[in-house]
Amino acid sequence: MPSAEGVFSWQPLPAWLAAIVAFGYLSLLFAVAYRADRQARLGRSLTDAGWVYALSIAVYCTAWTYFGSVGRAASGGLWFLPIYLGPTLVMLLAPVLVRRMVRVSKEWRITSVSDFIATRYGRAAGLGRFVSLFVFVGVVPYVALQLKAIAFAFDVLTGVPEAAAAGWWSDRSLWVAVVLVIFAALFGTRHLDVTERHEGLVAAIAFESVVKLAAFLLLGAWVTFVVFPGPGAIVEAAQARFGTAIAPLDAVDGLHYGDWAVMILLSGLAFLLLPRQFQVMVVENVRVGHVDRAAWQFPAYLLLINLFVLPVALAGRLFFADVSLDPDTYVLALPLAQGQSLLALLVFLGGISAATSMVIVESVAVATMVCNDWVAPWWVRRRQVAELGHAEIAGTLLWVRRVVIAAVLACGYGYYRLTGESFALVSIGLISFAAVAQLAPAALGGLFWAGGSRTGAAAGIALGVLVWSYTLMLPSLAKSGWFEAHWIETGPWGMVWLQPERLFGVEGMAPLTASVVWSLGLNTLVYVLFSLVFPPRGAQAQGARRFVRVESSAGAGGVWRGRVGVPAVAQVMARFLGEDRTRELLLGYARERGLAAVEALEVDAAFVRFAETMLAGAIGGAAARLVLETLLEEATPSFDDVMHVLDEANQIRTYSRMLEEKSRALEKATRRLQEANEKLTELDRLKDEFISAVTHELRTPLTSIRALAEILADDPDLPREDRLRFYRIIVRECERLTRLVNQVLDLAKLESGHGEWQPEALEMRDLVQEAIETIVPLAQEKQVRLEVSIEPGLPAVWADRDRVVQVILNLLNNALKFVPAGAGIITIRVGRQAAGEVAVQVADNGPGIPPEFMPHVFDRFRQATGGLAKPPGTGLGLAICKRIVEHLGGRIWVESLPGEGARFTFTVPIAERLEPGNEGGGHDDEENPSGR
């Protein structure tokens, strides 16, 4: 690689001057940062301004930009542009993309790009660790590049090659690195909590952005308007000298428009996801609104810093056309060659500022990452941490970060010393870009697509990193002469299709383009496919949805069963966040929920999430989760608790089943009550009817009795004949009344079941004989013939003697009423009916029963007249018969055709069938209380 010294000589500046200026500048940086921090503590934020935010984002422009852009423009024309077009395009999308990232990160208190990915995929600690490790590895060469640029700038300025220095202690870039470690440690690790931003750091970065811009603009203006009469003159001179002002786009190294597209994409993604960009753009963001203004301010910055790249590059080529000078040195060489020492020093400072700002932010960002992803999760789980207070914990973790910062710079420095001259500035930067771009599918996909899963993210990133290493990193190392490189050209083990720079035999792309296409393409594909096949589930899916929609963490809680109270959680929070801050946060949370005091809070799922998020801001998501799990695991996942919860669930299920049963039973009861009520209503109606009927039956004879008695009383001179007639009627009606009252009482007794029953084994023959003997005088009076036939050898029946005689008598009396006087025949038959029953049949040759009256024969107070005048009788006889027969366990029915008489039959069970002592079918009392 060609270098400046020896070939073209200019008056170099003394090394001590360069050193003084450089370290003086760094001191100024300290002052700026210190002042900004002090202002912030006084409540006057210097960084709470849109333009400061935009300037801090300009940390994107590193030494690579500062020295490299001119170099690239000199050799590749407009090829220096795409790495600025990418960020410009991204910033045009900032109101959608960056704003969303910022809002999500604030919501979840995300501390770094690896934390962003880990948090999105369900606080995936492993994923976070892998990403931070990969980023660390990917960033070290980039840091090395900056240190190299600083050394390079010293070399050019002083004319003394670094390599010629006496020893490593005289290496000024080493001392710069040391100072940067101190600066980053001082201003980049002030607070553990992410929400307490590093104001001093950001202010210093913004200041550095101003310095590098001002220096470059001054140089450009000087070259364009002082050395040359104007940009037009430079272009004309170049055309006159080289035939063309700038190299055509496709004329340099076989570049294609596709390479442009890939480069724009690559730089855009790197701009979003490089640790330092994420740090200033997302983590250090004061207000989301600043993003909107930065959307035009930052592209404007890029435009300004690139304004004079082409003129300076052309001027350099014209100026140093005859000497072999690295175009990267043009920016310093030009003023030096013109004897403009002051301008050269200013440009030198611009370069220093570009390099240092990058190193500072990058190292702080990586330190946070490594601390939160690797150290904190491991450390906070150790038991002894539980005894430490906030000061010790915060102090320890901040020291861890400081150590990591030193480690990053040490690695960077070591890398730089090892590789020495072997790396071109550009290639190192682009390899880092391509590395960081592998995070894009997981990070950006996860930002907009809730379906992206942890499996998809891990698989995508892993494959992307693999392809990146194989197609970009390995060839790059090989080309630097680290190992035998012939297989890069021939493919491993002679497999041409595995040639790293022409993977799968695809030709025609620049190695970088091919690597990006393959790695990013496969990465994205695998991310999407694996996410579809293994979609996020459970808590991860829930988190993903909240992440994508930026739902409030204070959303619906859900159930959390634990014995840990708010004070315990608050105590843990205080250990990492400090007492005051914790109280403030808890109060805010309580107020948000409409509670007056912290004491009113309860530990539910939402509260745990809140605590986790707050802790995540200090120690990263993975460690925060671990801390809370350690705290809560004593309460929740214990076997007893799970069993308890299961028990409760079981109980609840049992209760619910019991409730269901109860409700069914209630329904049934209601139905039965309804039925009973209907029955009661019906009974009530029947009772009313019965009373009404009884009343009627009582009043009718009373009417005759009273009328006749009054007639008799009023007229003592009534003829004796009439008097006697009336007396007889009165007596008959009184008998009728007596009979009625007796039968009503009898029926009531039967129906209420209080009748006196004396069942015994009886011969039906005897009973029938007894009844007939009673009725014979009446029959003879009416000249009715009684025909009796009794089957011999009948078994004894189990019945109450008087009651059965009563039934037979009732039936005989009934028949007697209806048979025609003089020609009446009543037939009585006794025999077996069905098995175990003896039947008694009473048939007459009366008028029979009209069909419409048949259903009411055994009803109370229903009397068929059979075309005659009202027959004597109470209308209760047959009703009583029915009650008695049914009570004895038998049946009674009637058959009749009008004009052919009626035939009543009743049965009584035989004694063998019924156990002696069993009150002969007494159950009927209960089942048939109404006596229907």
């Binding site: 009343t695 009627h696 009043r699 009373l702 009417t703 009273r706 007639i711 009023d714 007639r725 009627i729």
Partner: protein
């Protein structure tokens, strides 16, 4: 001129007692044992007043009352319902069918005669 009274009841003993009572009070009396017979007797006998039992076989007192009231020839005939049911609803039902009066069994002979006399007095509509 002797007023004519038709007595309708399915109880023979009631017919006996009322017929005797009314005849002795100077009325011309006819009897009927059920609704159909009552209508036939009303046709033939053209009574000035009918004592009509409600609970009768065949047509009951209400129906007989309704049918009589539909016939313009019996417009002037007074109808007294006799019933063993003493409830208000029965009284209202009877009056609704066009009866002029209503007596609940058992009644006193004096009460009956007073009612009959009042209904048959000239000028009574």
């Amino acid at each position: 001129m002797t007023k004519k009274i038709l007595v309708v009841d399915d109880e023979e003993n009631i017919l006996i007692s009322l017929e005797f009572l009314l005849q002795r009070a100077g009325y011309d009396v006819a009897v009927a044992h059920d609704g159909d017979e009552a209508l036939a007797q009303a046709e033939r006998f053209a009574p000035d007043l009918i004592l009509l039992d409600v609970m009768m076989p065949k047509k009951d007192g209400y129906e007989v009352c309704r049918l009589l009231r539909q016939d313009p020839r019996h417009e002037a005939c007074k109808i007294v319902l006799l019933t063993a049911k003493g409830r208000d609803i029965d009284r209202a039902k009877g009056l609704a069918q066009g009866a002029d009066d209503y007596l609940t069994k058992p009644f006193s002979t004096k009460e009956l005669l007073e009612h009959v006399e009042r209904l048959l007095a000239p000028g009574t509509v």
